[in-house]
């Protein structure tokens, strides 16, 4: 015990020396370790985690800055950052949609001042979503190269292909979020055309019809982008048929967005009905699908809610995706001659 005081002093002095001069040396290995862990474990977990709201607003918001900070001491963990930024974008978009639905409800109720305020609120959230999505696009291009390069990127694994596909959808979402924000962010609009060309780097059948739906969506959003003789709705329907075979709804979500953008009410309802049919069918969704499903489901519900609120003041009832107000879900019962 006599030596305890000098020993403690010595330890304190050593610790102080390490803190003052040597911690920087510890950060890179810590960065590599955490980066590898996030890439190898967190991303696959998020991709397959059913409670995607936790992924988006919990993991996304919680991990982004921690992971991004390692870019200061080691090579930027772009693969992980792509996902964390993507998730934070989704989280912001969810808030934007809620404000937008409140705007529609106020409008339906004739409360124009509230409607205007909610619309402005929605635009703020859309702007934040656009910014976050552009960060995700930045991480994507740092990892896989610029989208306007002549050659396709080297996508070594299935995970790379999945990430690239989700990345191209994120590009379209970034452009759309900026449009919905009232162009507050200034996302370059030519990114959509670049994503359209890059989509040919992915096999349409292998990726559930998403690449073809990406192309049709750009045709729908960018005037003059469709090749001669191309039929947007035919392309969406073909993509939808592939999607149904795989039990995936993302192509139908893009179909619904494209139809909504063009004001094609019949096609919008067709897409929502088909997406609901895929969700109700017994075909197991592709793996890993939870995150993609979340991206898809949020958009589908929002587009459906918009129709319901506009007409009834209340959002889509539980289990009623793919059906519309005033529309019978069953053929009329034959009650002739019963009473």
């Amino acid at each position: 015990m006599r030596f305890s005081v000098p020993s403690l002093s010595l330890l304190t002095a050593l610790a102080a020396t390490l803190v003052l001069s040597g911690c920087a040396a510890l950060y890179p290995p810590l960065g590599w370790t955490l980066g590898a862990y996030a890439k190898g474990e967190v991303v696959p977990y998020v991709l397959d985690e059913n409670d995607a709201n936790v992924s988006a607003c919990g993991t996304g918001n919680g991990l982004t800055q921690l992971m991004a900070s390692f870019g200061r001491v080691v090579k930027s963990p772009d693969y992980v950052l792509f996902y964390t930024d993507l998730l934070t974008g989704l989280c912001a978009e969810e808030q934007a949609y809620e404000a937008d639905l409140r705007h529609w409800r106020a409008r339906q109720q004739g409360q124009s001042v509230i409607a205007r305020d909610e619309l402005l609120q929605a635009q703020r959230w859309h702007a934040l979503a656009a910014e976050r999505r552009m960060k995700a696009v930045g991480a994507l291009t740092r990892r896989y190269g610029e989208l306007d390069e002549r050659y396709c990127p080297r996508l070594r694994t299935r995970d790379d292909e999945l990430t690239y596909m989700v990345g191209l959808v994120t590009v379209l979402q970034a452009v759309r979020s900026d449009l919905l924000s009232g162009a507050q962010v200034g996302v370059p609009r030519d990114l959509a055309m670049q994503a359209m060309r890059s989509s040919t780097c992915l096999d349409n059948e292998k990726w559930w019809g998403v690449p073809q739906a990406i192309r049709a969506t750009v045709w729908s959003f960018v005037p003059g982008s469709a090749p001669d003789g191309a039929d947007i709705w035919q392309a969406y329907r073909q993509a939808g048929a592939v999607a149904a075979r795989h039990g995936a709804t993302l192509p139908l979500t893009l179909f619904a967005l494209g139809a909504g953008n063009q004001g094609r009410d019949n096609e919008l309802r067709e897409a929502l009905r088909q997406a609901a049919a895929i969700r109700a069918a017994e075909v197991a969704p592709p793996e890993p699908y939870a995150l993609v499903d979340f991206i898809s489901r949020g958009q589908l519900l929002y587009l459906s809610d918009q129709i319901w609120i506009e007409q009834t003041g209340a959002r889509t009832p539980a289990g009623a995706l793919g059906t519309f107000p005033g529309e019978s879900r069953r053929p009329a019962a034959n009650i002739q001659g019963l009473l």
């Binding site: 409008r107 339906q108 109720q109 004739g110 506009e310 007409q311 003041g313 009832p317 539980a318 289990g319 009623a320 019978s328 879900r329 069953r330 009329a332 019962a333 034959n334 009650i335 001659g337 019963l338 009473l339």
Partner: protein, 342 residues
Amino acid sequence: MLKKLTHAALLTGALAFSNGAAAMVDRTLCVFDVVGANGDTYQMMKQYVLAAQQWGVNFKLKPYTDEALAKGDFMAGHCDAVELFGIATRSILKFPGSLDMMAALPTYDGLNTAIAALSAPNAAPLMKDGKYENAGIIPGGKVYLFSHDRNTLDDWEKLAGKRITVISEDEQAVEMIKYVGGTVMPASVSTFAGMFNSKSADLSYAPGFAYQALEMYKGLGENGGILRYNLGILTFQVTLHHDRFPAEFAQQSRTWVYDNMWDVGMRVVEQAEAAIPTKYWVDLSADKEARYNSMFSDVRQRLYDADKVYSRRMQTMLKTIRCRELPDNAECTRDTEGGPAI
């Protein structure tokens, strides 16, 4: 288009407000749900309450886990409206309450047709009796026979000597058990599952949702089984003291409930049935099923002849719907339950 929609919405909103402001009345709706205020039925009634505001009634919901108590409070006038199973409703309103007749409708489509017919305006005089009036019917699910021993289920003659729970007021079950030679074990909606699980009864009939909600898997154990034969379809029915409501309320309510609550009810039913593990289902061969059909046909005819507790008019209507679905059934050309159906 949006402008038009907004204008129409404004106009509708203004009209609804002026109607509501003029005639809104406060009423109590007593809701029976085995689970209570967190149960599926109670949740459905929350949606109904919002709709009722459009027709000038502001409902306060009151949950009951005891069906007899809910019914008693309604009859004593403490509740202005009540939601009960069709079987319990029958002694209040004989015609709609007879809808839950034993093995009367083979499919949910058949039940949908029946509810559509009862909810149509031309059925209104039949939906009212004395002080009471029906205000809507929601599907509650098919009733199946649960047994500790799956081997007893494939032929109704094996039910002889077995102790079978019977929910009070279910005279048709008593008639059926007498017919097959079983022993009636009196029970209530709240007690039958406990009797089955503790093995003080050999068999119980129950809707699909009882499997999880009332833990009937405990009684099924390793050797138990559930007969995939529809003993009847339960309904949830709302009944009113009609003089306490606006004149048009009941018909508006019946129409709305049919148009809006069928899918809501069926979603709960389908989820509950899907939760039953495949291993428990016992399927009948075609000839054994025909024997069950014939037994139930005889039991229903006895009830028709007795003409006490069931509405003959309802029985005849249900036979017509049944025979539209299954025209090859032997009964369809016979002079039973009010005459041939074809």
